[in-house]
Amino acid sequence: MSATVLHGEVGVSDEKQAAAKSAGRRFGALVVRLGAIAAFAAIMAYFVVFAPGFTSTFNLINVVEQSAILGVLAYGMTAVIIGGGSDVTEGGIDLSIAANMGLCAAVYATLLSMGYGDFLSVLAAIAVGMAVGALNAIAVVGLGILPLLATLAVLNVAAGMELTLTQNTVVGASSPLLGLLVSGSFLGISALAWALIVFSAIMIAVIHGTAFGLRLYAVGGHPEAARAAGLSVPFYVSFTYVLSGFCAAVASILTVSRLSASTPGSGELLLSVLAAALLGTVFSRRFVPTMGGTLLSVLFIGLLANGFQLLNVSSYWVNGVQGALILLVVAITSFARGSEGSR
């Protein structure tokens, strides 16, 4: 609040109409953004009051655990959108990320069940994930295929390879690492929750705390300007796709630990991942994708599902409410953008 008052004073003291106008616009955008966040807060407040056990530490940690897989995937997607620009048809997007996770999980579980150790299996899963990411990078950067199309083709390849590898069955898996992830805990917080916390900290630090992250935004925001400034646009864009593949591999290990197996159907996560990455933009001042925003929206989606569960609302409602909220938030955001003028 104090920040907005400050903006207002600066605008008036300059006595420049344009400045006052822009401050007014900024104020409007802030109100709208706070409105969207207030809508989130209102829903949370409702759960706190009416959902029994919602605020218990056990439950909150449970939500963080459940959000770990979606969160790690959404970070990969966010990085791709940051580096590729957020244009709908031409911008960065990785449709293959969920299928890639399925493939990595299948590789990991299959190798474990064949008797290879954790080290080799994890290494193989990460290698596969990053190889799929590299394939996306070659297609998008090297061949100039639209990301939407390139990753769509790779989605089919990855999903098909997962099916071939597992014959569409559940591959059970157990190992010391999985045991640790399932039952290990530190400071009363379980290993899966720690995985999300640590991964989030690293991603936020790399993307928002380093020159590298800043350059990534430059590349996505205005590729020509970035090129003119001497940045290697192909390198940065390629990096995001390989990072996205790495995230898929990490998520695959988390999902195998949660289910004690690799299971078919991981591709269904794609839409939730997209929703989380795009919904996160509302938490940023300029409505750009940020890692922090993505984390908040992932937790929000997790809390929403959890709150419904505690209120005994049918889980069939969750998708619909999630969809309605996306529309609400985005409508508010586009309204704010409109009042800001063209970007």
Partner: protein, 327 residues
């Protein structure tokens, strides 16, 4: 001099290859499967491909062709398919006549289209996010309406049998669903490439700002685009239900990625990468023939998906990569 002439000849060869990579791939694939499998080129098999793999996907892809021409996208086509299928089957199961069933089914798809149109043109939500939201809402709606995804089967009532019969009969030797596709494809082709509306749509896709300043009523035309797309998807929903005599919740989403893929494969035909009805139909045929051919050669369902992914990747790589080299 001779060097540069040589270069330009090379460039034009590359340009030619880039432009016709889809057609070349198409021909190569047909020849390959014709040699690899004796049953591939038989009329019975081609008939089977056309009816089972092409028609429904093609009608959905026609709708997406209009939307993608306008510069947008519709991720909720699966919802339109499902809602039309659901209402159609529910009405028939409740004993209403076929006309009421079709009207109800198309009406349900129309509602999805209008919802998309309102979100995109009135609330200024980007088509990607608007239709993603509608997709989520549509999935919930179906789960709630069917207590979590129970299929609805049509017991053999009069109207149900009649529709099933229509779906399986032939008109002048051409299967009825194929006739429906041909009529719709010609209509969409005329609409998109020969009408004022089509020119507006193309203009919005190429230069949205210029379209606006040129006095095109962008919101109105864009609403029309999304309504048409949903209605076409609705036709597929009704054909689907009539063929399998049931409604299976959330089955429409299977069309989404293939239809997007087919439409964009089709764009490689045009120099400016514009979607076209002919290109889209070619894309659908390419996907269908590869699926069918791989099946005949003896690849199982899982390998088919890998094969299609690799093939689409190669076609796109050839088209985009060669064109980039030609410039």
């Amino acid at each position: 001099m001779s060097v540069s002439a040589n270069d330009s000849a090379k460039v034009s060869v590359r340009g030619f290859l880039a432009k016709y990579s889809v057609l070349i791939a198409f021909a190569a694939i047909v020849i390959f499967f014709a040699i690899a499998s004796p049953t591939f080129l038989t009329p019975a098999n081609l008939f089977n491909v056309l009816v089972n793999n092409v028609v429904m996907l093609a009608i959905v892809a026609l709708g997406l062709t209009i939307v993608i021409s306008s510069g947008g996208i519709d991720l909720s086509v699966g919802v339109s398919v499902d809602m039309a299928s659901m209402i159609f089957v529910m009405l028939l199961a409740a004993g209403y006549s076929g006309v009421v069933g079709v009207a109800g089914g198309l009406g349900a798809a129309l509602i999805v289209g209008i919802l998309n149109a309102i979100l995109i043109t009135r609330l200024n939500i980007s088509p990607f996010l608007a239709t993603l939201g509608v997709l989520f809402i549509g999935q919930s709606t179906q789960q709630l309406a069917t207590s979590g995804g129970q299929p609805i089967y049509l017991t053999s009532g009069y109207a149900a049998d009649q529709f099933n019969a229509i779906a399986r009969t032939a008109l002048l030797g051409i299967p009825t669903p194929v006739v429906v596709l041909i009529v719709l494809a010609v209509a969409v082709h005329l609409l998109l490439h020969r009408s004022v509306f089509g020119r507006y749509v193309q203009a919005m896709g190429a230069q949205p700002g210029v379209a606006w300043y040129s006095g095109i009523r962008v919101p109105r035309e864009l609403s029309m685009v999304h309504v048409l797309c949903a209605l076409l998807a609705g036709v597929t929903g009704i054909l689907l239900s009539a063929t399998v005599k049931s409604y299976v919740p959330l089955s429409g989403n299977a069309f989404l990625l293939d239809a997007i893929g087919a439409t964009f494969i089709g764009t490689t035909l045009s120099h400016e990468r514009k979607p076209s009805v002919i290109g889209t139909l070619l894309g659908v045929l390419l996907l269908a023939i590869v699926k069918n051919g791989l099946l005949l050669v003896g690849w199982n369902f899982y390998w088919q998906q890998v094969g299609i992914g690799v093939l689409v990747f190669l076609v796109l790589a050839a088209s985009f990569g060669l064109r980039r080299a030609a410039h």
